[in-house]
């Protein structure tokens, strides 16, 4: 019968399909910066969770250890990051249940994340995050990134969000393979300070994390001093009243 066959074809704007896509993020984290150093990987992120333009949450941990060999830092939607942590928890649990003496290294975790992010992107329902995955296994240092559309790569230094524009030029100039822990921390702090000056969604409370063959350490939160004492800042419009 003709009438029973005349079903309405679902189009992209009908409720069922539209509700299956993430349209925009709500609570977001800003830049993550990371690089390889002499003993492993150093990573830093501030503890801010912004809600639009409001700096709503100031104690969000955006760097977490994964298994024994990796650190994951994330920017973007925090609820999606929390979900990714749950997926990884399950992954590590199943890996441990094999009880075969092997453990997932950073390269494997990075690959898993890439597959997850890319497949969600293909379904037009991305996890709205930029992920930084760093780790050390059997003496091999590994540092990679995955974006929300599944673009992934490895490099000696990476950054997400504003960090791409503000931190990476500094790292290109000043990074080298044999940075000590102290020099590495100073370099990270230099990057994070610039981000604090110039990124509106940055919050002055950051966490630095390191991962070496021995394991992962996430240091306690702290704040950076800032400098405002330039002569030019004290009276910027003295020669031109009304300007800024």
């Amino acid at each position: 019968m003709q009438f029973t066959d005349a079903k309405l074809l679902p189009d992209a704007s009908s409720c069922s399909l539209d509700s299956e896509r993430t349209l925009y993020p709500y609570v977001t984290g800003t830049s993550v910066v990371a690089f390889k150093y002499r003993d492993g990987i150093l990573m830093a992120a501030d503890m801010g969770g912004s809600y639009g333009s409001t700096l709503r949450y100031k104690t969000v941990e955006r760097i977490k250890p994964i298994g024994q060999h990796s650190l994951l830092g994330a920017s973007g939607e925090i609820s999606d990051f929390q979900e990714i942590l749950r997926y990884l928890d399950e992954l590590i649990l199943y890996d441990n249940m094999w009880d075969d003496g092997n453990s997932l290294g950073p390269k494997e975790v990075h690959n898993y994340l890439t597959r997850v992010m890319y497949n969600r992107r293909n379904k037009f329902n991305p996890l709205w995050n930029s992920l930084v995955l760093g780790g050390v296994k059997n003496g091999q240092k590994y540092l990679g990134m995955v974006s929300m559309i599944g673009v992934n790569f490895e490099d000696n230094h990476v950054a997400t969000g504003f960090g791409n524009h503000l931190a990476r030029p500094i790292l290109r100039d000043e990074w080298n393979e044999n940075l000590s822990f102290e020099d590495g921390v100073k370099l990270l702090e230099k990057c994070m300070r610039v981000l604090l000056y110039r990124d509106r969604s940055a919050v002055n409370k950051l966490q630095i994390a390191k991962i070496t063959e021995e394991g992962a350490t996430i240091f306690p939160p702290y704040s950076l001093k800032t400098f405002w004492g330039f002569e030019a800042y004290k009276n910027p419009t003295i020669g031109a009243e009304g300007s800024w």
Binding site: Y57, V60, S79
Partner: protein, 233 residues
Amino acid sequence: MEPNLNEPHSMGTTIIGVTYNGGVVLGADSRTSTGMYIANRASDKITQLTDNVYICRSGSAADSQIVSDYVRYFLHQHTVQLGQPATVKVAANLVRLISYNNKNMLQTGLIVGGWDKYEGGKIYGIPLGGTLIEQPFAIGGSGSSYLYGFFDQAWREGMTKDEAEQLVVKAVSLAIARDGASGGVVRTVIINSEGVTRNFYPGDTLPLWHEELPPQNSLLDILSAPSPEPMST
């Protein structure tokens, strides 16, 4: 302006959850609006999930009610299976599960607060999107915009029960003064090891803020009052 009575019921709202030395205090205003019309001026936005866990609801009234109903249902089954009261953490995680997995369809910001014997008083904020975040205090709803600065200054760790409740009442009352979408009475719920206490603060018990005048019965009372003493020079 014709009131549009077909707009969805939205609780503009101010909701607050605060931990103190021994438990939590939850607070909320009582206004539910459909567009510009106040559909309910005495709503109860602090809803029970279990004997020891309550939830403050903001945003879409329908969405927040249905999420609370589902969580109450699941928590009840969980309590039966577990054989003891559910923890605040479990309740909060259930709320997160529903909020996160239906993020495209829901528009509700929630604050879960309660007391359990393992961790004492805890507050969890679950904003739009389904992020779960444990905090010493949480604020939400449209009225919360006016309270960020207030809490930054007034919040302290380790308050007593009375200090915490007074802080909550003061904060909701300040938000009501400035947020058109919040109003009515201030309701509080205090949860600790001893149990749950509900309190009700109508407008006339709240302090007066800037440019607010003491309420009168009528102009006639003012006119018939004795004229004030002249000032001395």
